[in-house]
Amino acid sequence: MATNGSVPTVTIRIQRFNPDVDKKPYLQEFQVKAPPGKTILDALHEIKEEQDGSVTFRRSCRHAICGSCAMNVNGKHMLVCDAPLREHLDRKGVLTLRPLAYLPIIKDLVVDRSSFWEQYQRVKPWLIPPENIPEKEFRMSPAEVAALRDAEHCIMCGACYSSCQVIALTKQYIGPHALLKAFLRVLDPRDSAPAARLADLDRGDGVYRCHTIFNCIDACPKGLNPTEAIETLRKLVIKRQAFEAARAERQRRLDQPIEVVGEAPALSGGE
């Protein structure tokens, strides 16, 4: 980090590759100022707007909710929009940006996530509702909702997928993101076909292709835990008939109030 007055200047190395003209990817260096509060995405914008307009990356929301901007920063996957520039420099004060690993590169930092989305669709991410739909909402307990938190919160950024060495070996593996989505549906008390879903995961490229590498947890910028979801699914796959029976039982009372166990917490506070 070279210091210039009080605001340091840092080097950012960006992996460039346009398959139409380049034979193979190469790194290009840029210098940017690094005042506090500046994010890596801010730096990328600055480079694109002021230094080289052809530097290409995806982004949209800029606060870690749309999942566009996942990429590899000094070896770690992250969302660059909420990553403070100064916190991620390597020992030499350099930031090296590469596209998500193991995926075909469209251009520079933009990767082709087709296989990722195909697997997402493959798990039939939509709810298969029970036959009798109540007039009002299905009743779900706060605990049932809490169990789905991780799966529901996934922004489909692909960081987990592209950190998993199994994906490096085979794109036939369904992948942590799709398994997390499957988990969401299987565990949702409103879904009426968990056994069929689990049967579909019961294959060589389903839950059993995961080698418990844990990279998906390390890489997830939202702090989610696909591995645990996969382990749960593995157990349920075996017990799927019993699980479905229990689900059918639960669904008979889906329109009835949850019995309140213990003291119900207030919903929203005041002064």
Binding site: V166, L169, T170, K171, Q172, D202, R203, G204, D205, G206, V207, Y208, R209, H211, V237
Partner: protein
């Protein structure tokens, strides 16, 4: 899925057998010769244990090898053929190994 579970159960079995094997056969470390092995294998129980060990290790090794190969997308298309190769190899190795154990 069968292969995954076979691999886990054989792993658990191996934990037991392998520990036993290491302790009984290889320690104290010394020159292993026929007589020592013959002595132990005189007992039919030991013969049974070794055959079980053989089954476990073959199961584990072959399912493991199968996993390693089918993890690679290019080989995944042959997974049926590979599974059969595994089964055949397993049977052959089992026969060979059992013959060995019984020969003592």
């Amino acid at each position: 899925m069968r292969i995954f579970l076979m691999q886990r159960w054989s792993a658990v079995a191996l934990l037991v057998f392998l520990t036993l094997h290491m302790v009984v056969v290889h320690y104290p470390p010394g020159h292993i010769d026929v007589s020592r092995v013959l002595e132990r294998l005189d007992n039919p129980l030991w013969k049974a244990i070794d055959i079980a060990f053989l089954v476990a290790v073959l199961t584990h090794a072959l399912t493991g090898a199968y996993m390693v190969i089918t993890d690679v997308q290019r080989f995944n298309v042959y997974k049926r053929a590979l599974a059969w190769v595994g089964v055949v190899a397993g049977v052959l190795l089992f026969i060979y190994g059992t013959q060995t154990i019984l020969a003592f």
